[in-house]
Symmetry: C2
Subunit: 467 residues, 2 copies
């Protein structure tokens, strides 16, 4: 991984801006800057300047002025990476960015790999692995919920929880291994019933973390939503009403181009992505069999199904038959997905007979009119109630990372093995091995055990350049 | 212009990056940051920190953590704008950028208009108007030449020259106006012959600056190049060869997306833009009359015309006739544009008779083969020789700004008026008015006279946000 190299990269977003920031890290940082930078005045010299200080001056490529810049100085280990770091704030033309990076290359500083600054921070003990992952999550956060959870992880919320579990397990395994040293005397330092108690507690924590993943993943990636229903149910109108309502809320902040994500809305800080909106927006004159197949595909990709039915169809007896069939086939396909039954065009609902009313109520419908924008707020509230991250986030840690999920599941399995073996009265040395496997899985989340190089590469390879 | 407001804006390029920088300027900068920022430790507090210092800490919206950030502090007047300035380096998610800007808005800091920081720098006397314009040029510079000239202007090259001319003119006008006070005594404080000498010198300087505009504009905007010629002359092949050759030179710097500008090449730091490449790349089966009209349009838009003729056509007598006609009509249309006559497919040139050779040489052709990539370097050298900004930039200031060109031309006209009137023996008070008009035109370039608000709005409105 060439940790000895000094590295540089553009840390701000690519493209033209008023300013751009190029970050250097490594032991050649100061010597190289010393060669190419001339401070404006006595006050603005590299030499004699303290860390966390900014100095103004010019960067030269031999005798040619490249740009007037501001440097901010950090000395290792009091820096992001733990190494010597300098940040160059230059004018934000893409030409200048490129020119400075090229000059740094010429001076022997290589371009950083994606995530390499954070990798170095991890390796130098400035943060643990789950915190490093949280940095990437924070940078890519696009809504309030994912942002808050990334911040929680960055601040070490989940790391602390896992570290505590591990500490208790390590205490136990130490006692068990101590017994092995005294095996001839047949003593038990480790209280088996207390150990079982601990294992139950660990099980509970792991289960709670694992079950937080569904919400966590929904928060991080957005909840995929399928709007399904027969032609003319009003799918397209509902979609547009939901989208328009959301866009109206978005405050326009000039200068930030938070790309308006098409076909996505935010409710209580969570993103909901609508699936196959192109299909919805097409005219509905497709052959019915294709319609059904598409509907099923959409339901399969979704986490939340909105089944829409037009109230006017209930004016005919055949409509009731159709409702029954559509509802059953979609509900069956939806399995245990979150599911909402929506009756659209509510103003066209006929007067219901008692048994009709009873049947309809048994399906727990939400009445609305997508066109008249009635019942939309209720629909949003209902959707929002499925994913209440706020309560959850306040009471426990939420995991959002599939690598963590994997490690937690493996730990849980291993804890089960330990419990089974404990009850079967297995010998201490075998027990110790099982516990150590669980410890290792837990440790991999925060990087306290040696993590495979490929895994590190995979984690940091997903970062953007310059972090 | 609401100069009393405190302003904020994203100063780095829009979009997601590892970090983003938000800049604040104005008297509420410190009070607001004091309210929303909590330093990490005793060392990282706003209070007690000096200018040019960085402090680490967190930004809170009421009790909710928004981000962990680094502030860099500047106290007016030692700042870019001359006001109190703080730069917030936050994590580069678009969500966070927006969140912080919204929080600042809530605290009463409004979003900056484009160029408003630089406008304030100008108004507070941190730079003159032509330097402010150079900031915008620097940020948008895309090649070496435009970058160097913007830097030259930013460093006050042209300002100095104009300021000196004005100072001399002001000396003279003062003397002339002094005469008016003593008008009854009929004295002449201002030596008329010396004055004429000065006016000649000013004329020379203005002429030289005005004539530098063509090169300056070519440097700033790129030279528009027309490749013209009959179907099958090899226009498309030549274009591709030139483009491919250029792209091969471009060093790939990961993380910067200097958008590969399609259909543009760089020679000696100057950009050359090819006109109507879509037309070139189309199949050439269009009706001939349309072809001719298109050719003429392209020539009209261009500054440099490359007329391409396929050597194999010269194997037939009719080819010679065609060459004569095409050459004449295009050369005529090209008028005094820069013009190169290229004979493509040189390997297919027949053996020439003496008079043929003489005729051909009289047209000063460059022989090449676009397909075999022969003669391409010579062509590039030839093109490069038309616009030698390097020599020019070393020996004099180059103007690139049409506003400056305008003011210089008006000054020149006014100087001529003064000279004519001087020779006609006009009275001192009228002379003084003419000189003051010239002074005002010159002063408008550097903003030393009151510049119209609309003009200021026009200048700074072209800036990107955050500068």
């Amino acid at each position: 991984m060439r940790m000895e190299d000094t590295i540089c990269a553009l840390s701000t977003a690519p493209g033209m801006g008023a300013i751009a920031v190029i970050r250097l890290s490594g032991k050649e940082t100061y010597p190289v800057i010393n060669r190419i930078f001339r401070g404006y005045s006595k006050r603005h010299q590299l030499e004699g300047s303290k860390e966390y200080q900014s100095v103004l001056g010019s960067i030269y490529d031999e005798d040619q002025l490249v740009d007037e810049v501001m440097l901010t100085l950090f000395k290792g280990p009091q820096s992001y990476t733990g190494e010597d770091v300098i940040e160059i704030a230059c004018h934000g033309s893409t030409y200048i960015q490129e020119r400075i990076l090229r000059l740094l290359n010429k001076e022997g500083i290589r371009l950083a790999d994606p995530g390499e600054y954070t990798l170095r921070a991890f390796i130098n003990g400035k943060m643990d692995l789950s915190q490093a992952e949280a940095v990437a999550d924070l940078i890519s956060s696009e809504n309030q919920a994912s942002h808050q959870i990334a911040l929680q992880h960055l601040r070490g919320g989940i790391s602390k929880e896992i570290r505590e579990l591990r500490a208790e397990l390590i205490d136990f395994v130490s006692l068990i291994e101590l017994e092995l040293d005294f095996s001839e005397e047949d003593v038990e330092f480790a209280d088996r019933s207390k150990f079982l108690e601990l294992l139950h507690r660990i099980q509970a924590v792991l289960n709670s973390l694992i079950s937080s993943y569904d919400t966590g993943n929904a928060i991080k990636s957005g909840v995929p939503v399928a709007i399904v229903g027969a032609p003319n149910a009003g799918k397209s109108t509902l979609l547009n009403t939901l989208l328009k309502d959301d866009k109206a809320i978005v405050t326009e902040i000039a200068g930030t181009t938070r790309d308006a994500i098409e076909d996505e809305i935010q409710i209580n800080g969570i993103s909901y992505r609508f699936i196959d909106t192109a299909g919805i927006r097409e005219t509905d004159d497709m052959v019915e069999s294709i319609g059904i197949r598409r509907t099923y595909e959409k339901v399969e990709q979704s986490d939340l199904v909105l089944f829409l039915f037009a109230a006017d169809r209930l004016q005919e007896p055949s409509g009731w038959q159709a409702l029954k069939e559509e509802y059953q086939s979609i509900k069956e396909k939806a399995q245990d997905r979150k599911f909402l039954f929506l009756i659209n065009k509510q103003e066209m609902l006929p007067t219901l007979r008692t048994e009709e009313e009873q049947y309809l109520n048994s399906l727990k419908p939400l009445f609305l009119s997508a066109k008249a924008k009635e019942g939309i707020q209720e629909l949003q509230d209902k959707i929002g109630s499925f994913y209440r991250w706020g309560d959850l986030a306040a009471s426990q840690n939420i995991i959002t990372n599939v690598r963590h999920l994997d490690a937690l599941k493996k730990s849980l399995d291993q804890v089960q093995v330990v419990m089974d073996n404990l009850e079967a009265g297995i010998s201490g040395d075998l027990l110790s091995i099982d516990i150590r496997t669980a410890l290792s899985e837990l440790g991999s989340i925060i990087g306290e055990v040696d993590v495979d190089k490929d895994i590190l590469g995979n984690i940091f390879g997903k970062f953007c350049i310059g972090k």
